[in-house]
């Protein structure tokens, strides 16, 4: 009898131990993602600087990076992009299946993911988020990327952890677009029903009420000063030993007025990390060893600067129209662009020439061997001569009809890089006999010319870039609003523009990236040959970070924050 009681007692103790053990275990997620990191130290405060205040805490109303950079710590989507390879990876969705006809995607959500207030994340939140995306009263950034040929996706909840999307046709970019941040239904649904969604979660809201699923949540916001984040103890990513990430306890983002002040704060060790202006990298390097930080080259960045000539027959008078629509003229201009000098003068040597419309940073889609136009004024002269442009006895270049070649080059004032580009280009064209009137003007004026009046000759401007080539479908298809040299075409004006239209149509119809690459490769070759846009250079992304920040591996694409959960501080 005694051994029976002992056994029961032992069993009871074991059960109790197990119960206590599981109750105090850190991880409650049933589907954690194991990250390739281990041994990090918990705790500490990571401090960095941002250039402007967030304008709203409502991701669906956020229109600029000052807001989204903050909210990206708090919210997550079904998918995300790997900070190193740029590929689409699972996030809140742990896996998905695509039907054989490529039109139906079924997402399996991670189970046991908690909102910051403890409630569980389920398919209801996903459905609610997509209701918001397609609501015509909520003007958001996500809808255009989730609309195919003008049609929204159909979406339905299969069960608490499964959501199914049906596309009107096969559309490759859709998986990347599924990174739209999921917001909590239990906190926002009533407001949405009552039509108050656009008033929710402005910056007058207590930051603790902004609830997401991400590694950090906001705990303090002092306008004009700082935003403070605390670690989410229930996050779904863990390290190799099963410990929940992130390691760092708090993040503090200080609002600084300009980049020079940021550098001062960094040198004073008031912040731990900085993405410095390229012009400051050289003198930061001089102080790096003494002060205990290092500088990391993240590689070429996304985003482009280019010179574009106006080919719009509705607004450009002759003879300028005949020059700008002449491929030989544009190719000669390309040979007159001195990219090496731009790299040295505008970027302190820390940039690479760009020849293709898809940046080198886009490692998968970039085609490195497109046609190049090395800086060669004699070659430029020869091409122009072949096309009938002659330099007169007064040194001025004249077109085949005898008109003096002269035009106006504009850009937005205050952008040092673009002003340098304009000055260099103007000087080089002078040597060819072309007089250029280079004029930096007010940004708003420039935008009006580009989007409303279309009365300009040549402009230096740039666009932000992304990994998905189809995301530029306002730019390359001839009917696009940002098809800079001749937007809103009803019919493609040239054969090559018609071909690009076709390539962009076809390019989204294949899910296999290697199949898609064929279309975008041809696209890059056409653009390099026709040079409607003269690309300049891609600056490198540099990062300055103190040595006590461990495991920091910033990249041009992901910055440092793609791995914010995997760094730790050792002081």
């Amino acid at each position: 009898m005694r051994w029976l009681r002992a056994r029961v007692a032992l069993a009871a103790v074991l059960v109790a131990a197990l119960w206590v053990g599981t109750a105090t275990a850190g991880v409650t997620t049933l589907d954690p993602e194991v990250r390739p990191v281990s041994g990090g130290k918990y705790g500490g405060v990571f401090r960095y600087s941002v250039l402007g205040d967030p304008k709203t805490f409502n991701y669906f109303l956020a229109k600029e990076t000052s807001s989204t950079d903050i909210l990206d710590r708090v919210f997550e989507g079904l998918t995300a992009a790997d900070g190193v390879t740029t590929e689409v990876v699972p996030s809140l969705a742990k896996s998905w299946e695509i039907s054989p006809d490529n039109r139906v995607i079924t997402f399996h959500l991670r189970r046991g993911v908690q909102w910051h207030d403890g409630r569980e994340f389920t398919a209801d939140d996903v459905i609610f988020t997509f209701d918001l995306v397609y609501d015509p009263n909520i003007p958001n950034n996500f809808r255009d990327g989730l609309t195919i040929d003008g049609q929204p996706l159909k979406y339905e909840k299969i069960d608490d952890y499964t959501v199914r999307f049906t596309l009107p046709r096969v559309y490759a970019p859709i998986l990347r677009a599924m990174s739209v941040p999921i917001v909590p239904k239990h906190l926002l649904h009533d407001a949405w029903r009552e039509g108050r969604f656009n008033q929710m979660w402005g910056i007058d809201t207590d930051p603790r009420q902004i609830v997401g699923t991400g590694p950090y949540r906001m705990v303090e916001y002092r306008p004009g000063e700082r935003i403070v984040f605390e670690r989410n103890p229930n996050w779904w990513q863990v390290d190799q030993d099963g410990n929940p990430l992130p390691y760092i306890q708090r993040l503090e983002a200080y609002v600084a007025g300009n980049q020079d002040v940021q550098v001062l704060k960094f040198l004073n060790n008031e912040i731990d990390y900085l993405a410095p202006n390229l012009a400051r990298v050289a003198d930061l390097e001089l102080q790096a060893e003494e002060k205990g930080f290092r500088l990391i080259n993240g590689g070429p960045a996304f985003g482009t600067n280019f010179i574009v000539f106006n080919q719009n027959p509705n607004t450009v008078p002759q003879p300028k129209l005949s020059w700008f629509t002449d491929k030989a003229f544009r190719q000669a201009m390309a040979h007159a662009l001195d990219k090496e000098s731009i790299i040295d003068l505008a970027y302190g040597g820390l940039a690479q020439p760009q020849w293709s419309p898809i940046e080198a940073a886009n490692v998968f889609f970039h085609k490195p061997d497109v046609k190049q136009y090395p800086y060669d004024l004699q070659r430029a002269q020869a091409i122009l001569a072949e096309a009938g442009y002659r330099k007169g006895s007064d040194g001025r270049l004249r077109d085949p009809q005898g008109n003096v070649v002269e035009f106006e080059l504009l850009t937005n004032a205050g952008n040092r890089a673009r002003e340098t580009i304009g000055t260099l280009f103007k000087a080089d064209l002078e040597r060819l006999g072309i007089r250029v009137n280079f004029q930096p003007i007010d940004f708003n004026l420039l935008v009006r010319k580009l989007s409303e009046t279309f009365d300009w000759d040549a402009i230096i401007i740039g666009l932000t870039g992304g990994v998905e080539p189809a995301s530029a479908n306002n730019v390359w298809p001839s009917s696009g609003a940002l098809h800079m040299w001749y937007p809103f075409q009803e019919q493609p004006a040239t054969d090559w523009e018609a071909r690009i239209d076709h390539l962009f149509e076809e390019g989204t119809k294949y899910l296999d990236p290697r199949e898609r690459k064929k279309y975008y490769d041809e696209f890059q070759d056409i653009v390099a040959e026709q040079v409607p846009l003269l690309f300049t250079v891609n600056p490198e992304a540099w990062f300055a970070i103190y040595d006590y920040v461990k495991n920091a591996r910033p990249t041009a694409y992901g910055g440092l924050f793609y791995q914010i959960g995997e760094i730790w501080l050792e002081r």
Partner: protein, 322 residues
């Protein structure tokens, strides 16, 4: 006197109408609009941008937009900011205290320094001391505020001074004791207040100097000296009081400008003030935020001048309020 005050307050109304209408028209006439920056985004379609415009009421004719704002103003509603999508009163309110703090402390520095410097400059006019002071004043006047701010911040880093590089409070300060928090804010306030204060000293000193010089030439000053009054009494008790008219008027303007903020200095020193907020609002054509600030500025200006006039009447019996 009350009729005077009443009349002034009533005159404020057409003035505010004029200021607000003019500001609105100028902003409207400037190229582009609030949605401009969105037009260069490759990921936003023209339809989405048009929808945003409609939501903000930007597709209405200009007078309709102005009248809508005016109608809301009469109900004491300053509208919502386009950028922040929160009430303008919240935005201005959240920064008002910081702005006042900076304005009052920099004004204190300017005025407290200007009085002794101005008096000495007048009393020792045309001597070496006066010339040195003139030179220093002009130097202070010529250095742009933002540059001086950058210089001081650079000095903090270079010589490891125990001052913070910008901001208004230190992280975690909300859990400190009251006096520790006061000290913290004062440490952060030092550089911006000094920058703005020294800018003001120069002109105030010049005004006081010339005003006092005029008075010192008067016959009753000679009489006072002849009567045997000590020089200190002559200057501080008699001459200065008569030279104060200009200073009082200037003080009125100072009061009027308390909530304007100093944008560039605030930007450099990360001081969370109104100047920064409104500068960005003007640049992005956030109509309601700018109009809200313009209205408040107009009201402050009128009140400031009113107080100055009343003070003037009290200080100088020759002045009669009409």
């Amino acid at each position: 006197m009350w009729r005077f005050i009443g009349r002034r307050l009533i005159q404020m109304i057409p003035m505010l109408l004029g200021i607000s209408l003019l500001s609105f028209l100028i902003m409207y006439a400037a190229p582009g609009s609030f949605v401009n920056a969105l037009k260069l985004r490759p990921d936003l379609s023209p339809e989405t941008i048009a929808r945003i415009e409609a939501q903000l009421g930007l597709d209405q004719p200009v007078l309709v937009q102005y009248l809508r704002w005016l109608w809301n103003l009469l109900r004491l509603d300053l509208g919502q900011s386009f950028t922040y999508q929160v009430p303008v009163t919240y935005l201005i309110g959240s920064r008002a205290v910081a702005t006042l703090l900076l304005a009052v402390s920099s004004a204190a520095i300017s005025w407290l320094l200007a009085f002794p410097l101005g008096v000495y400059a007048a009393v020792r006019a045309h001597t070496g001391y006066d010339r040195v002071l003139t030179f220093v004043s002009l130097l202070g006047l010529s250095i742009p505020n933002f540059f001086l701010a950058m210089l001081l911040l650079f000095a903090v880093v270079r010589w490891r001074l125990p001052l913070p590089v910008g901001g208004m409070t230190s992280p975690g300060a909300s859990s400190w004791s009251f006096w520790e928090q006061v000290l913290d804010v004062l440490r952060h306030l030092l550089i911006p207040a000094v920058v703005l204060g020294t800018a003001g000293v120069a002109s105030l000193t010049r005004y006081l100097r010339s005003g006092l010089l005029d008075v010192l030439r008067q016959e009753y000053i000679t009489t006072a000296r002849a009567k045997g009054l000590p020089e200190r009494a002559v200057i501080w008790r008699h001459a200065l009081r008569n030279a104060l008219n200009v200073m009082i008027t200037l003080f009125g303007f100072e009061l009027g400008g308390l909530l304007s903020g100093a944008a560039l200095t605030e930007i450099i020193t990360s001081w969370p003030g109104l100047g920064q907020l409104i500068l960005e609002a003007v640049q992005s054509q956030d109509y309601y935020l700018v109009m809200g600030s313009v209205t408040i500025g107009g009201v402050m200006l009128v009140l400031g001048n009113l107080i100055a006039d009343i003070l003037l009447a009290w200080a100088d019996p020759r002045v009669r309020l009409t």
